[in-house]
Symmetry: C2
Subunit: 146 residues, 2 copies
DNA sequence: GGGCCACGTGGACGACATCGACCGGGCGAT
DNA sequence: ATCGCCCGGTCGATGTCGTCCACGTGGCCC
Protein backbone atom coordinates (compact mmCIF):
# COMPACT_ATOMS: atom_id res chain seq x y z
CA UNK A 1 0.00 0.00 0.00
CA UNK A 2 1.90 3.02 -1.25
CA UNK A 3 1.16 6.29 -3.02
CA UNK A 4 0.64 4.53 -6.33
CA UNK A 5 -1.93 2.17 -4.83
CA UNK A 6 -3.72 5.13 -3.35
CA UNK A 7 -3.62 6.88 -6.71
CA UNK A 8 -5.21 3.81 -8.27
CA UNK A 9 -7.96 3.79 -5.65
CA UNK A 10 -8.51 7.48 -6.29
CA UNK A 11 -8.99 6.87 -10.00
CA UNK A 12 -11.36 4.00 -9.34
CA UNK A 13 -13.36 6.38 -7.24
CA UNK A 14 -14.36 8.43 -10.26
CA UNK A 15 -14.52 5.59 -12.76
CA UNK A 16 -14.49 2.00 -11.65
CA UNK A 17 -14.42 0.79 -15.26
CA UNK A 18 -11.39 2.79 -16.34
CA UNK A 19 -9.23 0.91 -18.86
CA UNK A 20 -5.83 -0.25 -17.68
CA UNK A 21 -4.35 1.54 -20.66
CA UNK A 22 -5.66 4.80 -19.19
CA UNK A 23 -5.13 3.91 -15.56
CA UNK A 24 -1.44 3.10 -15.92
CA UNK A 25 -0.27 6.48 -17.24
CA UNK A 26 -2.52 8.31 -14.77
CA UNK A 27 -0.70 6.75 -11.84
CA UNK A 28 2.73 6.79 -13.46
CA UNK A 29 2.95 3.16 -14.48
CA UNK A 30 2.64 1.01 -17.55
CA UNK A 31 -0.74 -0.56 -18.20
CA UNK A 32 0.52 -4.01 -17.21
CA UNK A 33 1.89 -2.82 -13.89
CA UNK A 34 -1.34 -0.97 -13.11
CA UNK A 35 -3.27 -4.13 -13.87
CA UNK A 36 -1.06 -6.22 -11.59
CA UNK A 37 -1.47 -3.74 -8.77
CA UNK A 38 -5.21 -3.47 -9.13
CA UNK A 39 -5.45 -7.24 -9.31
CA UNK A 40 -3.50 -7.51 -6.09
CA UNK A 41 -5.73 -4.95 -4.41
CA UNK A 42 -8.84 -6.80 -5.57
CA UNK A 43 -7.48 -10.19 -4.49
CA UNK A 44 -6.59 -8.90 -1.05
CA UNK A 45 -10.10 -7.42 -0.69
CA UNK A 46 -8.70 -3.98 -0.02
CA UNK A 47 -10.94 -2.67 -2.74
CA UNK A 48 -13.99 -3.93 -4.52
CA UNK A 49 -15.32 -2.48 -7.75
CA UNK A 50 -19.10 -2.43 -7.69
CA UNK A 51 -22.07 -0.69 -9.25
CA UNK A 52 -23.71 1.57 -6.71
CA UNK A 53 -27.31 2.40 -7.46
CA UNK A 54 -29.25 5.47 -6.45
CA UNK A 55 -32.26 4.31 -4.43
CA UNK A 56 -34.33 7.33 -5.44
CA UNK A 57 -33.73 6.57 -9.12
CA UNK A 58 -34.86 3.02 -8.44
CA UNK A 59 -38.18 4.23 -7.09
CA UNK A 60 -37.26 3.78 -3.44
CA UNK A 61 -38.83 6.63 -1.55
CA UNK A 62 -38.56 5.56 2.02
CA UNK A 63 -35.20 5.24 3.67
CA UNK A 64 -34.22 5.23 7.29
CA UNK A 65 -31.54 4.61 9.82
CA UNK A 66 -32.58 2.30 12.63
CA UNK A 67 -30.97 2.51 16.04
CA UNK A 68 -31.62 -0.86 17.63
CA UNK A 69 -31.23 -1.81 21.28
CA UNK A 70 -30.60 -5.45 21.99
CA UNK A 71 -30.69 -7.62 25.08
CA UNK A 72 -28.12 -10.35 24.42
CA UNK A 73 -25.80 -10.69 21.45
CA UNK A 74 -26.41 -7.99 18.85
CA UNK A 75 -24.65 -10.14 16.25
CA UNK A 76 -27.47 -12.65 16.37
CA UNK A 77 -29.94 -9.88 15.60
CA UNK A 78 -27.68 -8.54 12.87
CA UNK A 79 -27.49 -11.97 11.26
CA UNK A 80 -31.27 -12.17 11.11
CA UNK A 81 -31.64 -8.66 9.73
CA UNK A 82 -28.96 -9.27 7.12
CA UNK A 83 -31.37 -11.69 5.44
CA UNK A 84 -33.70 -8.83 4.55
CA UNK A 85 -32.90 -7.17 1.28
CA UNK A 86 -34.16 -3.84 2.61
CA UNK A 87 -31.19 -3.77 4.95
CA UNK A 88 -28.29 -2.35 3.00
CA UNK A 89 -25.86 -1.46 5.73
CA UNK A 90 -25.34 -2.56 9.28
CA UNK A 91 -22.79 -1.85 11.99
CA UNK A 92 -22.44 -3.00 15.57
CA UNK A 93 -21.93 0.06 17.73
CA UNK A 94 -21.13 1.13 21.20
CA UNK A 95 -23.23 3.84 22.80
CA UNK A 96 -26.99 4.19 23.32
CA UNK A 97 -27.76 1.63 20.61
CA UNK A 98 -26.21 -1.74 20.00
CA UNK A 99 -26.87 -1.96 16.31
CA UNK A 100 -27.38 0.49 13.50
CA UNK A 101 -29.11 -0.57 10.33
CA UNK A 102 -29.78 1.39 7.19
CA UNK A 103 -32.90 0.30 5.38
CA UNK A 104 -34.32 1.19 1.97
CA UNK A 105 -38.01 0.63 1.32
CA UNK A 106 -40.36 1.45 -1.50
CA UNK A 107 -43.07 3.22 0.46
CA UNK A 108 -43.34 4.72 3.93
CA UNK A 109 -45.83 1.98 4.76
CA UNK A 110 -43.24 -0.65 3.91
CA UNK A 111 -40.86 0.98 6.34
CA UNK A 112 -43.46 0.92 9.09
CA UNK A 113 -44.18 -2.74 8.37
CA UNK A 114 -40.51 -3.60 8.37
CA UNK A 115 -39.88 -1.98 11.74
CA UNK A 116 -42.98 -3.31 13.43
CA UNK A 117 -43.38 -6.73 11.84
CA UNK A 118 -39.77 -7.67 11.28
CA UNK A 119 -37.38 -5.80 13.50
CA UNK A 120 -39.27 -5.50 16.77
CA UNK A 121 -40.33 -9.17 16.92
CA UNK A 122 -36.73 -10.41 16.60
CA UNK A 123 -35.61 -12.18 19.76
CA UNK A 124 -33.57 -9.89 21.95
CA UNK A 125 -34.65 -6.61 20.38
CA UNK A 126 -35.71 -4.30 23.18
CA UNK A 127 -36.10 -1.06 21.28
CA UNK A 128 -35.98 0.50 17.84
CA UNK A 129 -35.51 4.16 17.08
CA UNK A 130 -36.31 5.14 13.50
CA UNK A 131 -34.61 8.05 11.73
CA UNK A 132 -36.20 8.49 8.33
CA UNK A 133 -34.29 10.45 5.73
CA UNK A 134 -35.13 11.74 2.33
CA UNK A 135 -31.89 12.09 0.52
CA UNK A 136 -28.21 11.47 0.82
CA UNK A 137 -26.12 14.57 1.30
CA UNK A 138 -22.67 13.05 0.94
CA UNK A 139 -21.45 9.64 -0.12
CA UNK A 140 -17.77 8.88 -0.49
CA UNK A 141 -16.40 5.47 -1.22
CA UNK A 142 -12.76 6.23 -0.80
CA UNK A 143 -11.40 6.23 2.69
CA UNK A 144 -8.18 7.75 1.75
CA UNK A 145 -5.19 7.96 4.00
CA UNK A 146 -4.69 11.63 4.77
CA UNK B 1 -35.86 0.32 -15.96
CA UNK B 2 -36.93 -3.26 -16.51
CA UNK B 3 -35.86 -6.73 -15.45
CA UNK B 4 -32.86 -6.65 -17.76
CA UNK B 5 -31.61 -3.38 -16.28
CA UNK B 6 -31.99 -4.86 -12.84
CA UNK B 7 -30.11 -7.95 -13.93
CA UNK B 8 -27.31 -5.71 -15.15
CA UNK B 9 -27.18 -3.90 -11.83
CA UNK B 10 -27.10 -7.23 -10.06
CA UNK B 11 -24.10 -8.35 -12.08
CA UNK B 12 -22.32 -5.08 -11.44
CA UNK B 13 -22.88 -5.74 -7.79
CA UNK B 14 -20.51 -8.70 -7.80
CA UNK B 15 -18.08 -7.39 -10.43
CA UNK B 16 -18.12 -3.79 -11.53
CA UNK B 17 -15.43 -4.45 -14.13
CA UNK B 18 -17.21 -7.31 -15.88
CA UNK B 19 -16.61 -7.31 -19.63
CA UNK B 20 -19.57 -6.47 -21.84
CA UNK B 21 -18.89 -9.72 -23.68
CA UNK B 22 -19.65 -11.56 -20.43
CA UNK B 23 -22.35 -9.21 -19.20
CA UNK B 24 -24.51 -9.46 -22.31
CA UNK B 25 -25.07 -13.23 -22.27
CA UNK B 26 -25.58 -13.17 -18.50
CA UNK B 27 -28.56 -10.87 -18.85
CA UNK B 28 -29.83 -12.41 -22.07
CA UNK B 29 -28.56 -9.80 -24.51
CA UNK B 30 -25.77 -9.30 -26.98
CA UNK B 31 -22.67 -7.51 -25.76
CA UNK B 32 -23.55 -4.36 -27.70
CA UNK B 33 -27.03 -4.16 -26.25
CA UNK B 34 -25.72 -4.67 -22.74
CA UNK B 35 -23.20 -1.93 -23.33
CA UNK B 36 -25.87 0.48 -24.56
CA UNK B 37 -28.03 -0.24 -21.54
CA UNK B 38 -25.24 0.15 -19.04
CA UNK B 39 -24.15 3.35 -20.75
CA UNK B 40 -27.67 4.69 -20.42
CA UNK B 41 -27.79 3.73 -16.75
CA UNK B 42 -24.45 5.42 -16.13
CA UNK B 43 -25.46 8.55 -18.04
CA UNK B 44 -28.71 8.87 -16.14
CA UNK B 45 -26.81 8.47 -12.84
CA UNK B 46 -28.95 5.53 -11.82
CA UNK B 47 -25.79 3.61 -11.19
CA UNK B 48 -22.18 4.51 -10.66
CA UNK B 49 -19.32 2.05 -10.86
CA UNK B 50 -16.73 2.81 -8.22
CA UNK B 51 -13.97 1.20 -6.24
CA UNK B 52 -15.04 0.76 -2.63
CA UNK B 53 -12.21 0.42 -0.19
CA UNK B 54 -12.20 -1.36 3.13
CA UNK B 55 -11.27 1.20 5.82
CA UNK B 56 -9.76 -1.47 8.07
CA UNK B 57 -7.48 -2.63 5.25
CA UNK B 58 -6.44 0.99 4.77
CA UNK B 59 -5.32 1.23 8.36
CA UNK B 60 -8.37 3.10 9.57
CA UNK B 61 -9.19 1.81 13.00
CA UNK B 62 -11.62 4.32 14.34
CA UNK B 63 -15.02 4.67 12.78
CA UNK B 64 -18.21 6.13 14.11
CA UNK B 65 -21.69 7.30 13.41
CA UNK B 66 -22.43 10.79 14.63
CA UNK B 67 -25.94 11.84 15.52
CA UNK B 68 -25.91 15.61 15.32
CA UNK B 69 -28.49 18.05 16.65
CA UNK B 70 -28.70 21.41 14.96
CA UNK B 71 -30.31 24.71 15.74
CA UNK B 72 -31.07 26.25 12.35
CA UNK B 73 -30.59 24.72 8.92
CA UNK B 74 -28.92 21.32 9.15
CA UNK B 75 -27.91 21.64 5.50
CA UNK B 76 -25.50 24.43 6.36
CA UNK B 77 -23.82 22.17 8.89
CA UNK B 78 -23.79 19.31 6.42
CA UNK B 79 -22.11 21.50 3.83
CA UNK B 80 -19.34 22.35 6.26
CA UNK B 81 -18.86 18.75 7.34
CA UNK B 82 -18.78 17.55 3.75
CA UNK B 83 -15.45 19.34 3.36
CA UNK B 84 -13.81 16.95 5.78
CA UNK B 85 -12.42 13.85 4.17
CA UNK B 86 -13.15 11.83 7.30
CA UNK B 87 -16.85 12.23 6.59
CA UNK B 88 -17.80 9.52 4.15
CA UNK B 89 -21.56 9.51 4.41
CA UNK B 90 -24.16 11.99 5.54
CA UNK B 91 -27.94 12.09 5.61
CA UNK B 92 -30.42 14.65 6.84
CA UNK B 93 -32.87 12.91 9.11
CA UNK B 94 -36.04 13.42 11.01
CA UNK B 95 -36.22 12.24 14.59
CA UNK B 96 -34.08 12.95 17.64
CA UNK B 97 -31.14 14.05 15.48
CA UNK B 98 -31.11 16.38 12.50
CA UNK B 99 -28.06 15.00 10.78
CA UNK B 100 -26.26 11.69 10.68
CA UNK B 101 -22.66 11.50 9.63
CA UNK B 102 -20.43 8.51 9.24
CA UNK B 103 -16.79 9.24 9.87
CA UNK B 104 -13.63 7.22 9.36
CA UNK B 105 -10.51 8.16 11.30
CA UNK B 106 -7.10 6.63 11.73
CA UNK B 107 -6.91 6.55 15.50
CA UNK B 108 -9.43 6.89 18.32
CA UNK B 109 -7.73 10.15 19.24
CA UNK B 110 -8.41 11.51 15.76
CA UNK B 111 -12.07 10.73 16.22
CA UNK B 112 -12.14 12.56 19.52
CA UNK B 113 -10.41 15.55 17.95
CA UNK B 114 -12.78 15.54 15.03
CA UNK B 115 -15.86 15.56 17.21
CA UNK B 116 -14.62 18.12 19.69
CA UNK B 117 -12.53 20.43 17.51
CA UNK B 118 -14.47 20.25 14.26
CA UNK B 119 -18.05 19.16 14.72
CA UNK B 120 -19.06 20.80 17.98
CA UNK B 121 -17.67 24.25 17.12
CA UNK B 122 -19.70 24.44 13.90
CA UNK B 123 -22.29 27.21 14.07
CA UNK B 124 -25.68 25.82 14.93
CA UNK B 125 -24.52 22.48 16.31
CA UNK B 126 -26.18 21.98 19.68
CA UNK B 127 -25.26 18.39 20.34
CA UNK B 128 -23.31 15.43 19.05
CA UNK B 129 -23.84 11.82 19.97
CA UNK B 130 -21.03 9.49 18.99
CA UNK B 131 -21.57 5.83 18.16
CA UNK B 132 -18.21 4.20 17.57
CA UNK B 133 -18.14 0.92 15.69
CA UNK B 134 -15.46 -1.59 14.97
CA UNK B 135 -16.56 -3.38 11.89
CA UNK B 136 -19.17 -3.44 9.21
CA UNK B 137 -21.57 -6.32 9.46
CA UNK B 138 -23.41 -5.86 6.18
CA UNK B 139 -22.84 -3.65 3.20
CA UNK B 140 -24.99 -3.91 0.09
CA UNK B 141 -24.73 -1.54 -2.80
CA UNK B 142 -27.72 -2.70 -4.72
CA UNK B 143 -31.07 -1.69 -3.42
CA UNK B 144 -32.95 -3.93 -5.73
CA UNK B 145 -36.59 -3.69 -6.50
CA UNK B 146 -38.24 -6.57 -4.67
C1' DG C 1 29.63 -10.96 -5.01
C1' DG C 2 25.90 -14.23 -5.73
C1' DG C 3 21.42 -15.51 -5.45
C1' DC C 4 16.88 -14.30 -4.69
C1' DC C 5 12.64 -11.83 -4.66
C1' DA C 6 9.52 -8.19 -5.83
C1' DC C 7 8.14 -5.28 -9.21
C1' DG C 8 8.01 -2.84 -13.62
C1' DT C 9 8.50 -3.09 -18.76
C1' DG C 10 7.63 -4.38 -23.45
C1' DG C 11 5.68 -7.24 -26.94
C1' DA C 12 2.61 -10.71 -29.12
C1' DC C 13 -1.68 -12.62 -29.39
C1' DG C 14 -6.36 -13.18 -28.86
C1' DA C 15 -10.34 -11.19 -26.93
C1' DC C 16 -12.93 -7.28 -26.46
C1' DA C 17 -15.06 -2.57 -26.98
C1' DT C 18 -16.76 0.36 -30.23
C1' DC C 19 -19.47 2.02 -33.94
C1' DG C 20 -22.31 1.91 -37.90
C1' DA C 21 -25.60 -0.52 -40.82
C1' DC C 22 -29.41 -3.24 -40.71
C1' DC C 23 -33.71 -5.23 -38.80
C1' DG C 24 -38.06 -5.98 -36.41
C1' DG C 25 -41.90 -4.98 -33.09
C1' DG C 26 -44.98 -1.50 -31.14
C1' DC C 27 -47.68 2.38 -31.94
C1' DG C 28 -49.98 6.45 -33.61
C1' DA C 29 -51.87 8.79 -37.62
C1' DT C 30 -54.10 8.64 -41.83
C1' DA D 1 -55.21 -2.19 -42.39
C1' DT D 2 -51.10 0.04 -43.85
C1' DC D 3 -47.65 3.18 -43.77
C1' DG D 4 -43.91 5.52 -41.25
C1' DC D 5 -41.45 6.28 -37.33
C1' DC D 6 -38.85 5.28 -33.30
C1' DC D 7 -36.86 2.59 -29.91
C1' DG D 8 -34.01 -1.03 -29.06
C1' DG D 9 -31.82 -5.27 -30.58
C1' DT D 10 -28.46 -8.04 -33.54
C1' DC D 11 -24.61 -8.51 -36.52
C1' DG D 12 -20.10 -7.61 -38.39
C1' DA D 13 -15.67 -4.96 -39.21
C1' DT D 14 -11.92 -2.63 -37.17
C1' DG D 15 -8.86 -0.93 -33.94
C1' DT D 16 -8.03 -0.99 -29.11
C1' DC D 17 -7.39 -3.31 -24.96
C1' DG D 18 -6.69 -7.08 -21.62
C1' DT D 19 -3.85 -10.87 -20.80
C1' DC D 20 0.18 -13.43 -20.37
C1' DC D 21 4.98 -14.27 -20.49
C1' DA D 22 9.86 -13.43 -20.90
C1' DC D 23 13.11 -10.19 -19.64
C1' DG D 24 15.41 -6.37 -17.01
C1' DT D 25 16.49 -3.98 -12.76
C1' DG D 26 17.02 -2.61 -7.99
C1' DG D 27 16.98 -3.96 -3.12
C1' DC D 28 18.23 -7.21 0.35
C1' DC D 29 20.09 -10.95 2.96
C1' DC D 30 23.46 -14.41 3.46
Amino acid sequence: MDDIDRAILRELQTDGRIAYADLGPKVGLSASAARQRLQRLLDSKVVQVVGVTDPMAMGRQSMALLGISVDGDPRAVADVLAQREEVVYMVLTAGPYDLFAEVVCGQPADLLDLVNDVVRPIDGVTGVETFPYFGIHTHRFLWDVG
